[in-house]
Structures are given as C-alpha cells and as structure tokens.
Symmetry: C2
Subunit: 135 residues, 2 copies
DNA sequence: TACCTGAGTTCAAAATTTAGACTCAGATTC
DNA sequence: GAATCTGAGTCTAAATTTTGAACTCAGGTA
C-alpha cells in the first residue's frame, strides 16, 4: 500500500492513467486533454515508465514519421480494478448520479461492476469484511 | 472520476485514509505514524471533512479530557473497495509478494478479494471487460 | 502556581509546479 | 536544398505548495 500510494498519490498521475485506460497514448493528446504543463507531464510519464506501468513504444502511422506511444503494461492494466472501484465510488458518493463511467462485457455488453468476493467467487457484503491494509 | 482524482490524488490523503481504515483516528497518532508535517496533516484532514469523507467527532476517554477523533463517514467507508483493489494490485505488481494486506470475512475469517462481477454477481475475467472511465 | 498535552497556527526556507519560450530531428513544401 | 512544420520534449523564472521548527492556547494535573 505504501508504495502504491507513492505511485498513485498524485493528481496528474491518476489523470494520465485514466487517459491511458481510455486509449489516449500520445504525449500531445494527453497534454491537450488534461491541460497539464509539459514539464510535469513529461516527468510523470517518465516516472510511470520507470515504474513499469506504462511503456514507450515507437509506432508509425501510414505516410507519417515514427512517433512514440505510451501504452499500459501488464502491470498497468492490473490497475483497472482500482480505477473501476474508484469510478464506482465517485459515481455513488461524489458526482451523485449515474455518470457515463463503468465497465461492460466486451461481447454481450452487459454492465459489470467491482465487488468483494470470497475464494469461490461468491460475492460478500462489504460490511462483513475486516480490512487489513497495513504493510 | 475527475473529481475523485482531485480528492485522492495526493500522497498524504491516500495515507491518511489508509490510517482511517486501519482505525487510527487521532491527529497525533496519524502524525506519528505518517511523519507528516502538522500543517499539511491539518490541511488534508480539513479537506476530507469538508468533502464528507471523514467527520470530526468529540470523544472522551475515562478520566481524560474531551478530544477529537476523525472517523470515516458512510461515503468514506465506501472507498474500502478502492483501497482493497489498490492493495491487491500493489501486492501483485509492486511489492512482489504476499504482503500482510487484504480483507477477510469478519465471521469466518475466510480471505476475500476484489473482483469484477456481472449484474448477477458472477465473476467475469478482467480481459473481457471494456472500460468506460470518461465522465 | 507551574507544568504537561493534544491539537493546532505561524513563519521562513526548500521543493515543486506552472506557463511560456526555446530546441531539435525528421518530413514536407517550395 | 532552403524554409517550414510537427511531435516531443528542455529551460527558465515566477507562483504555489510543502516542510520543519517554533509558537499558541485551552483543559487538566502536580
């Protein structure tokens, strides 16, 4: 938790990762979307690459020069649950309404959500859980 | 998401909430645990109270003067899933081992974890999900 | 009365963030 | 082949935030 907090405990980092999940992966597109200062954006992207959450991949669009894209690594994609849980919380307690945020089954389109489950995958009510976040 | 990021996108805020989930609720105990500067801690606690995530409750221990405790509100407790998901991620991708972090059934002690489920509570693989975090 | 403690506030110094100008290499245009 | 454009930065000075250390203040104790 402590290290995770160090990585995610930053406004821009959180927003950059949201962009990455949304599929935005180019420096200038992120800058445009987030209105983040260049130096801060560069700094955070480098940090995320150094942490193994994003990776910088060269790519080339037809008839264009080679550019760099920032894409989520396996570890980065692992944050999806955290982001979904956060979005779900924001929807319930902050924005106060059904925001256009969530997850859906890629094939059936059925809405999905984050929940607490036991080892057999059976959902358990949050109130039944004892948390242990230290460490 | 954007507003949620604004609230949680801060190193101390994340750590303060971890303390709160762990049951630490007194100013000086948090200061001791986190080694946070007083002014920053005061500032973040006030912010969390203003946002309705913590509330300041006076309380009195036997034979002691009245003091103030910062406890999670209903909205604050709603962040538990997010924290568990984050702790789970940290365990899997950052600290690289089974850290003493997680959740367990309060009665049976069975370990619990965060997962993506469909409307019927049936777990769905993360790779099947299409995310929609905008909004 | 003098002292201790929890929960702050105040203040100057240090660190970080910001906006905006500048750079630089590869393509494209003239 | 000179001038221009673009993506992806770097540099810089000013503004903002964070930090640590000292100070305050009220209630209770010795």
């Amino acid at each position: 938790m402590a290290l995770a907090a160090e990585i995610l405990g930053d406004r821009w980092t959180l927003l950059i990762l949201r962009e990455a999940f949304y599929g935005v992966c180019r420096y200038d597109d992120m800058r445009e979307d987030l209105k983040a200062p260049r130096s801060t954006l560069t700094d955070r992207l480098n940090m995320l690459v150094a942490r193994g959450i994003l990776e910088k991949q060269p790519y080339q669009e037809a008839g264009d020069r080679v550019r760099r894209a920032y894409v989520l690594t396996e570890a980065g994609r692992g944050l999806a649950l955290t982001f979904l849980a956060l979005a779900q919380w924001g929807e319930a307690h902050v924005t106060g309404g059904a925001a256009p945020v969530g997850a859906a089954d890629r094939e059936t389109g059925a809405p999905l959500h984050v929940a607490l489950v036991d080892a057999d995958g059976v959902p358990v009510d949050l109130a039944r859980a004892a948390l242990r976040l230290r460490g």
